[in-house]
């Protein structure tokens, strides 16, 4: 194992002597978190709302007032019972057209189900989904207030309360998308360090020919691989810590769960991405090749990670692919520990899966790395 010491010394010297490395380690995380978490926001504001009120009742009016009071909606048009065409929606001046049926108040007071219909301009699917869920959430609030106000009355009547807006689950309307993005970006950062730097580092030795010099020495495979991987493991952990500090200080991302779980998970997770980087290096002969292969995996991993698009919204076959994606598991851990306050019991399955993943990928890489060629 004494050779390992010398390899590590050499690697750390070379890494910190490389003028490109310090920006990657320090500037890249800050830049990405600062810029991307603002740019990659899904927060939708100023939703142009059209209301078609067919009821003209006190209750429909109070629902409209709720929309008016909301910071997310601008009510741009009122229409009346006679209008049926959705012209404003077609023109694009309106994002959502909400129709209140003429039996709205009657149904509420009689405890019969009532349906509100909303037509949503869905050209931008993402914005549409979010706007619709905001619109729903206001109706939901309205419904709850109504229930609370009329509790006494409803209890007297002894009728089971059955107001049904047929609403789906809704996001908290105050949800801050930065809270959602920053944990994902942290995963991206740590993974990039692991995959790109490790694979390029080893391939660089192939390019300049020093790998051959190393392969004629008695260094064991294990020493070589550990020596190559450990420095980037340390850098990855460092970048994660730096990123979490930025997340706390700059974005006040809540950290509800135990942070040590994130660090423990990252220790394991880094082994997986470093293993992938190592595996890429056995496939590539030049740094360009290794970049290409790494990007190939990177794009797939990011898009299928649930970072931008919720996994539940993907088609079933794509959902199944995400089970093979290591990013998915770390993003889940990040979000559930930071935002939901998850504990060990909630995420132990992620630990198990990523542990198995680490064993498989590193076994593959170690087998693929050869000191003697066939």
């Amino acid at each position: 194992m004494s050779a390992l010491k010398f390899i590590l010394q050499k690697e750390f010297k070379q890494i910190f002597r490389d003028k490109g490395m310090l920006p990657i380690i320090f500037v890249m995380p800050i830049m990405q978190l600062m810029v991307l978490s603002f740019a990659a926001t899904f927060d939708v504001k100023n939703i142009q709302l059209e209301i078609v009120d067919r009821d003209h009742s006190q209750l429909s009016q109070s629902l409209i007032e709720k929309y008016e009071a909301s910071a997310y909606f601008n009510i741009v048009e009122f229409k009346h019972a006679t209008d049926t065409k959705g012209t404003s929606l077609q023109e694009g001046s309106v994002n959502i057209s909400l129709e209140i049926p003429n039996d709205f108040e009657k149904s509420l007071t009689q405890n019969t189900p009532v349906s509100l219909s909303a037509k949503v301009n869905a050209i931008d699917g993402m914005t549409a989904g979010i706007s619709a869920s905001y619109a729903q959430s206001i109706i939901q609030e309205f419904r709850e207030e109504y229930i609370n106000k009329n509790k006494a009355l409803l209890a007297q009547n002894k009728t089971p309360f059955k107001v049904n807006f047929s609403m789906q689950n809704w996001y908290n309307s105050t949800l801050n998308y930065k809270f959602y993005m920053v944990p994902g970006l942290l995963v991206l950062l740590v993974s990039m360090i692991g995959m790109f730097l490790t694979s390029m580092n080893i391939v660089k030795e192939k390019e300049i020919g020093t790998i051959e010099q190393l392969n004629v020495t008695p260094i064991t495979k294990g020493e070589f691989i550990l020596g190559k991987v450990l420095p980037f493991w340390c850098i990855g952990m460092f970048v994660l810590s730096l990123g979490l500090i930025i997340a706390k200080l700059a974005f006040s991302v809540p950290m509800l769960g135990p942070i040590y779980l994130i660090f423990l998970f990252a220790m394991l997770y880094l082994l997986v991405v470093l293993g992938i980087g190592l595996f890429i290096s056995t496939l590539a002969d030049t740094q360009q090749q290794s970049m290409f292969i790494a990007w190939f995996f990177m794009v797939i991993f990011v898009l299928l990670s649930g970072m931008f698009t919720p996994i539940e919204n993907m088609p079933v076959w794509a959902q199944q692919i995400t089970y093979l994606n290591p990013f998915r598991y770390f993003i889940e851990v990040m979000r559930s520990v930071l935002l939901k306050g998850a504990t060990w019991d909630d995420i132990k399955i992620n630990f198990l899966i990523i542990g198995i993943y680490a064993i498989i990928i590193n076994t593959m890489s170690v087998l693929a790395y050869r000191k003697t060629n066939g």
């Binding site: 004494s2 010297k13 070379q14 020919g209 020093t210 392969n215 004629v216 008695p218 003697t372």
Partner: protein, 248 residues
């Protein structure tokens, strides 16, 4: 000279598909000698050397290096050899001293040995001024000498040199050969490939490869008389043209 055979091959072959890069070569190298491994580009020199250094698995035949089998004991061979390739393969972004410590260290030299041998080496090469300079700032001619010294730092039984003097000026080449002689005097066996025929004259014995086979094998003196030639250049041209030669 000790006549113990330190490298011995019998019908050693490396095939890539149908193409036999090295075709049944048999030769031996005696302990302490300077063995020249000659041949035109593409004749199979590098492939043969890679098999002997454990970088490439042979297809068939037999060979031992320092008493270890090239099929099964490659990692043991690696403990006993030094290797310097034609491509400069020390780290440009490390200093001279750091390179010495790294390569010496991975061969398991102790701290004391590293200091002692490192200092001796730096003094002998007259490079005390540049010991802490990054190697990229050191001129090429010096680099080759440094590479050779680093390859022999762990005092291997055999040192393999793959075209070590390629692209180097005549004075440096001369100095380089002085270092080779010094190493041989200290008991290190030197296995060197080259295509400079004047360098072939410096070797104790040589083998010449043509198209994957050994077409000439013996001391420079023997080869010159066998081929009725004045110098090694002539021998080389005759062998390359395919003139008859009795294979040993």
């Amino acid at each position: 000279m000790d006549s113990e055979k330190i490298i011995e091959t019998t019908k050693l072959t490396k095939a890539f598909g149908d193409f036999k890069a090295v075709n049944e070569i048999s030769f031996d190298v005696k302990k302490g000698e300077i063995f020249g491994f000659l041949g035109a580009n593409g004749a199979g020199k590098s492939t043969a050397m890679k098999m002997l250094t454990g970088l490439l698995s042979p297809t068939s035949g037999e060979a031992t290096v320092a008493g270890f089998d090239v099929f099964t004991q490659q990692e043991k061979i690696k403990k006993n050899i030094g290797y310097m390739s034609q491509k400069f393969s020390l780290y440009d972004d490390l200093s001279l001293l750091e390179n010495i410590k790294f390569f010496g260290g991975i061969y398991g030299l102790s701290k004391e040995q590293l200091n002692e041998r490192g200092n001796t080496m730096i003094e002998r090469l007259g490079l005390s001024d540049v010991r802490n300079k990054l190697l990229k700032e050191v001129p090429l001619g010096w680099k080759q000498k440094i590479a050779f010294s680093v390859a022999t730092l762990h005092q291997p039984k055999i040192v393999f040199l793959d075209e070590p003097t390629g692209g180097v000026d005549p004075i440096t080449r001369r100095q380089f050969w002085e270092m080779i002689y010094e190493a041989a005097d200290n008991g290190t066996t030197v296995f060197v490939t080259t295509h400079y025929m004047d360098e072939a004259e410096y070797c104790n014995r040589i083998s010449m490869m043509v198209d994957g086979r050994i077409a000439g094998y013996g001391s420079p003196k023997e080869l010159k008389s066998d081929f009725n030639s004045e110098n090694m250049d002539e021998v080389f041209v005759k062998i390359a043209r395919g003139e008859n030669y009795k294979l040993q």
